[in-house]
Amino acid sequence: MFRTIYIMWLREMKRFIRSRSRIIGSLAQPLLFLLAFGYGLGAVFSAAGQGNYIMFLAPGIIGMSIIFTSIFNGVQVIWDRQFGFLKETLVAPVPRLAIMIGRTLGGASVAALQGCIVLVMTSFVGFHPYSWPLVIPAILVMLLIGLLFSALGIAVGSLMRDMQGFQLVMNFLVQPLFFLSGALFPLKGAPMLLTIIARADPLSYGIDALRGFLINGSTFGIGLDLAVLAAFSIVFLAMGSYFFSKIQA
């Protein structure tokens, strides 16, 4: 069980570290958001009495890079199916649950690593955490967000047969989850409907927890954030394992 989890995790890590173009490519988007929104809207934001926008935005952008990376990683089940490697894991005499957990942990680690890189990047555009020791729990939150969305990605990827589905996932799942999560705007004072939607979006709680640890700015309370993240993770892990175990070649 543990060796299976370990080797699946190791594979994800190796593939990530080796794909330099993917790492660099996935930094372009957060950088763009930081510059365009951070600088573009910064003045409006502080004029509205909301404080420093870069400080507010940075945890949201870290959350963005985590959700994109982890769902992308999970959905790579489709790649493995297409390129045949999936069969190698499916005929192995190990529980499907172990394969799924290893993959999920690998995806979560990759996403958290990416989140840390973005965290470093934000410091170049003027972000600084209000307390350095609290960066450690913030990284654990990144792992948890990664776990949640890796599991969701695997669940969705297990249901798909080809790459066409991938674009759909990105457009109709990841983008809305990100834009409606409160990553870019404060939920306090947002229109009622938007607040309701954001409250149903697990990423909102992830980003809220990051804000809690990084800028002491949690809206929901970190306890609630962690409880919601954990609950969603368990549900998605169960769903992912179920759909993954149903894959036939």
């Binding site: 080796r18 005929v91 192995a92």
Partner: protein, 262 residues
Amino acid sequence: MTDIIEVKNLTKKFGDVTAVNNVSFSVAKGERFAFLGPNGAGKSTTIKMLTTLLEPTSGSIIVDGHDPVTDSSAARSSFGIVFQDPSLDDELTAWENMDFHGVLYGVPAKERRQRIDELLKFVELDDRKDSYVKEFSGGMKRRLEIARGLLHKPAIIFLDEPTLGLDPQTRNHMWQYLEKLNEEDGVTVFFTTHYMDEADRVAQRIAIIDHGNIVAVGSGAELKAQTNTETLEDAFLALTGSEIREEHADASARMRMMRGRR
């Protein structure tokens, strides 16, 4: 001799397509057994059911004493498999692909390293062990897959059209390894092919399969005697009423390999 694979009344339907139609056969321990048939005959579907990748619509299977449906984990430990389509991780090196497999199959670290070195030498890839698989040719990938399939010392090795799309020299080479292994270690070799000469030369017994049905089982000599023919080609023709068109099969195999290589 005892049978290591027993299949009774096995059927697989995909919607209204019957890919495998009520087939029964058995394979003896240590035997080299071939499934010979044209594209679409149901060879891969049968192998997938034997190796737990597909659930049968009906019928029973025993692989090394285990039922792949109800006792899949035990059945999985008993075999190694080389799939028809590539199944390596291109982003990992040859050695890493082997190591991954060894860990999954619970081969202890020391033995794993030793066997990986041994097997890579055996398939003549030891000098390329640290190269990424994406740099390998089709033949090298196939050899690596064979080495990988043998790493955990399976009782049976399944090979689904292992020589498809390979040049004749590489094909010969590959069968030499496998025959050596079969003779020295007693590994049961179950392979599918649409090459007549290969089935005739390598297999001790051949099952001829067409449109999901097994039309005859026997040694090459028996099949020829039974049909009063001189060559396996003629025997095949007499039994199925058609020839295997190799050009067609080869073209589609090459396309598949190219897709897999991207």
